[in-house]
């Protein structure tokens, strides 16, 4: 393993004795400390998943309240302010705290396994991303527990409604600072993924052999690092307006509120592809596995993913067709938006091509994946209807948009993510959800989803505006709203079944051997759950569906592995990174600083800055200290020496080099 040793740049430490008196080297494998200090991509992925699912339930609960309020005309479940808070938090939660981190969970857990790596390129940065995400989620949700209440500016936070003049309390501050932290977390994580995918591929894993899910991870990561800066700047400008009285969106001093919309949607449109591309990656793994065929048109699926990502940067103004951009700009964005249908269609066609002539086995993941293809198609078609600007003038901000994006977000992203959970569950936990309960939950979710959102197309065309807490009985919207609410309740039941079964399976589900699905990609060559070091021997990749090839060439591969294992043992065992608390400390500092900026009153009486600056500074110092120690403690790690059964010796420190 010369390679790994070389990547370890602390040359001198090679001779250093084990004990460090200055830096805490946690080694706990269980308990709170082990989770707070973990740098293992699998544990981090698991934590992302747990937080994401929790927030999905919270967001779903908010959605149910929305639906209950709208069940009948002139509903009284929520007040206007509560309702506005609810859809703001529902949108923000679902997009930033549920679907994105759930994708991140898969990026973390699966992607390194798929490329035959032992971890991501920067394990501690990975931990930092996780905890910063958690910090952001806390800040956004802090309002529920405070007098000012949770944010109510809509998930797009259009200025000047979110400026100090029209939203004087702290709720918007929390929204801004929370999103800001989520941005930091997402960018840091994505930088890490990009480097990992580009640089840590196993020998033979060329770019055109990468599993499609890994490809989509790469493209998504690119979208994140390139689009989040725009919302970051938009939020900085809004925050400067709110804190220091600058003029970015201050109309009386020449500010143009429309600028916020541009900055937001330059981010916002790529964001929706950030939500869908991982889903497409998951589906591109599941369909071949259960059709028992390689993916049809691999290169073109990859290429279309990249072009969706690229085109995604040139269409943002289709969210602004009604802002009066003039004919030329409207036409240009209209056409560019339509163009995206082509690469997306290519994916659909190739998925069908994958099924063609296969031996399709209808297991639960496959059900969700096929559900995805159907539902996403419908959502995509209503997207194309939006892209025709004159038609969109009637649809914009109506329930037609709500229908469109729930079809792509739930029928699309969420279905695929639920499919992914089922698909990789046996690998992650060594247990498998029972087919009966899996399929039952699928059908209930599928039916509930369509009953909820299909009528919304009609509501939209019938003129029901979105973000409205009430409506009158004489507008012809009663039936559709009632049905949608019933659908949402059915959907809720479906989700409940899904999670109940998942928890049950996690605890007492049927144990399965490795590679239950007879799958194609490398991660399935691992025992389940995968050991901390992933691969005992870094695999050599010979073909696109690497593990499929290996299964076909068993002897050759066995010989190869034995040789490599010997070479590796000779070189000092498996290199593992140390656990570290400092990424957590740095995130904690960010959390404190954000609380200081967002929540503490700007009280001018005791000294100019009041207490605000104090708390923010404490946070800043904690963060800097975290980063400083993080840099100083170094990344030398330790070595694992496996015995023949693949067990590591109990005491890790003893294995230090």
């Amino acid at each position: 393993m010369e390679a790994i040793l070389k990547s370890d740049l602390h040359a001198k430490d090679a001779h250093a004795p084990a004990k460090s008196t200055l830096f805490w080297r946690p080694t706990a494998q269980t308990g709170l400390i082990s989770w707070l200090t973990t740098v293992d991509h699998k544990k981090i992925g698991f934590l992302y998943g747990v937080f994401a699912l929790f927030f999905f339930l919270v967001g779903g609960f908010e959605a149910l309240l929305i639906r209950l309020q709208l069940m009948y005309p002139n509903g009284t479940v929520l007040t206007a302010q509560q309702y506005n808070t609810m859809f703001t938090m529902h949108g923000t939660t679902m997009i930033f705290l549920a679907v994105m981190p759930l994708s991140a969970a898969f990026f973390n857990f699966i992607m390194p396994l798929q490329i035959g790596a032992r971890d991501v390129a920067f394990p501690r940065l990975n931990a930092f991303s996780l905890w910063t995400f958690v910090a952001g989620a806390i800040i956004i949700n802090l309002g529920w527990f405070m007098h000012d209440g949770a944010p109510d500016g809509g998930w797009v936070g259009y200025a000047p409604l979110t400026s100090k003049t029209f939203a004087a309390d702290h709720s918007i501050d929390m929204w801004v600072m929370g999103l800001q932290l989520l941005g930091v977390a997402s960018i840091a994580a994505s930088l890490n993924f990009i480097v990992t995918i580009i640089n840590l591929r196993a020998p033979g894993m060329t770019m055109m052999r990468l599993p499609v899910f890994t490809w989509m991870t790469l493209i998504t990561a690119f979208l994140i690092v390139l689009s989040f800066p725009f919302i970051t700047i938009a939020l900085v400008e809004l925050m400067m307006d709110r804190l220091f009285g600058t003029n970015f969106f201050e109309v009386s001093n020449g500010g143009m509120p429309i600028l916020w919309q541009h900055l937001f949607w330059v981010f916002g449109h790529p964001e929706v592809y950030i939500l869908i591309l991982p889903a497409m990656g998951i589906v591109s793994e599941i369909l071949p596995t259960f059709s028992r065929k390689p993916l049809f048109g691999y290169p073109i699926v990859v290429f279309s993913g990249a072009s969706i990502g690229f085109l995604g940067f040139s269409v943002w103004s289709h969210h602004m067709f009604t802002t009066g951009m003039g004919t030329m700009a409207t036409a240009a964005f209209s056409l560019a938006t339509m163009a995206i249908a082509v690469p997306t269609g290519v994916k659909i066609f190739n998925w069908i091509g994958t099924l063609w002539n296969g031996h399709i086995s209808m297991r639960t993941p496959m059900m969700f994946a096929l559900g995805f293809v159907w539902m996403f198609m419908i959502g995509g078609f209503s997207g194309v209807m939006h892209s025709a600007a004159p038609a969109d003038a009637q649809q914009q901000d109506s329930y037609f948009v709500i229908a469109h994006f729930h079809y792509v977000l739930i029928g699309g992203s969420l279905f695929a993510l639920l499919a992914g959970i089922h698909y990789w569950f046996p690998l992650m936990f060594g247990r498998k959800v029972s087919e009966f309960w899996g399929k039952l939950s699928f059908w209930v979710i599928f039916a509930g989803f369509n009953i909820t959102f299909f009528p919304m197309h009609f509501l939209g065309l019938n003129g029901m505006p979105r973000r409205t807490f009430t409506y009158d009985a004489n507008l012809g919207w009663n039936a559709a709203n009632f049905i949608a609410t019933i659908g949402a309740l059915i959907l809720g039941v479906g989700i409940f079944i899904y999670f109940a079964v998942m928890v049950y399976t996690f605890l007492k589900g049927e144990k399965v051997a490795k590679d239950v699905w007879d799958a194609r990609t490398l991660e399935w060559s691992l025992p389940n759950p995968p050991p901390e070091y992933n691969y005992r021997v870094i695999p050599t990749v010979h073909a696109r569906d690497a593990y499929w090839y290996n299964k076909q060439h068993k002897e050759e591969i066995a010989r190869e592995e034995a040789e490599k294992a010997k070479a590796e043992a000779a070189h000092g065992g498996i290199h593992m990174p140390h656990q570290s608390i400092y990424p957590f400390v740095a995130s904690l500092g960010l959390l404190i600083a954000a609380v200081g900026i967002a929540v503490i009153d700007h009280d001018p009486s005791p000294g100019f800055w009041g207490k605000k600056i104090g708390v923010s500074m404490i946070g800043g110092v904690v963060m800097l200290a975290g980063i400083y120690f993080w840099a100083l403690e170094g990344n030398e790690g330790y070595h694992l020496h496996l015995d023949d059964e693949g067990h590591a010796p109990a005491d890790k420190n003893a294995a230090k080099h």
Binding site: A16, T21, F122, I187, L191, N247
Partner: protein, 279 residues
Amino acid sequence: MSSHAGTIDHHHDPSTSTGIPNKKLLMWTFLASDCMFFGALISTHLIYRLHPMPDAPSPKNIFSIELTSFSTFILLMSSLMMALAVTAIQKGNLKSMRWSILTTIFFGSIFLGCQVYEFQEFVEIKKMTITNSMLGTTFFTLTGTHGTHVAIGVLWLILMYVRSFQPPEAGRNAAWFIRHAVHIAVIIGAILLAIFATLALVHTLHTGGSISAYFGGHFAMLAGLLACIAAGIFLARPNGPVNFGEANAIDVESMGLYWHFVDIVWIVIFTAVYLLEYL
């Protein structure tokens, strides 16, 4: 594990799939992302410059192109020194690297000093604040963000410089840790004191005050500055073997990429924000 002295190829890292060291790839990707940050900020500034309020202040009457040209020149030179620092450490020439880094820090601090001076002048003499006009808002935010990047760069340079004195087995050496912290504090102190002393001197000269009054009035500040410099020299004396060498070139190089990027952003700002206003 051996340090392969003399055989490290700085353009190829065999442990990665592409041969590009991870840290370098990380930095380049981050810089691509940073392009978008500054793209958003510069767009904001230019959009508002192209659609000013009727009574908007004219930048021509506010900017001082001489000062800005000077600081632009300084920043370019700092970039040169940074590039030299990287070459030095790639050849294992620690001493040369330290001097180059120190010079880079020095130039960077001059740039920051100029910016502090510029901001102060705009606010106090030209009466342009961050709140009283759109120009102030976008100008201060844009150049301020750039200045923050420079400040972070200077801090990073300082940390790297001090890091180059780290003895082997530092993890067990608490005394070193304290020395290390003091060293950093001393350098930051020296920079801050130097900036403020210089600004005060400029102020004195501008307002026609006497030099002796300046020395009298700022005695403590100047004494502190001298003390910091002395302490800095003392802490930088040769003190046994260090754990910093050719293998760390990648760290210095990544830092260099960041520093140069800050420089090229300034190239764009200098043209788009300053020069174009004079046409």
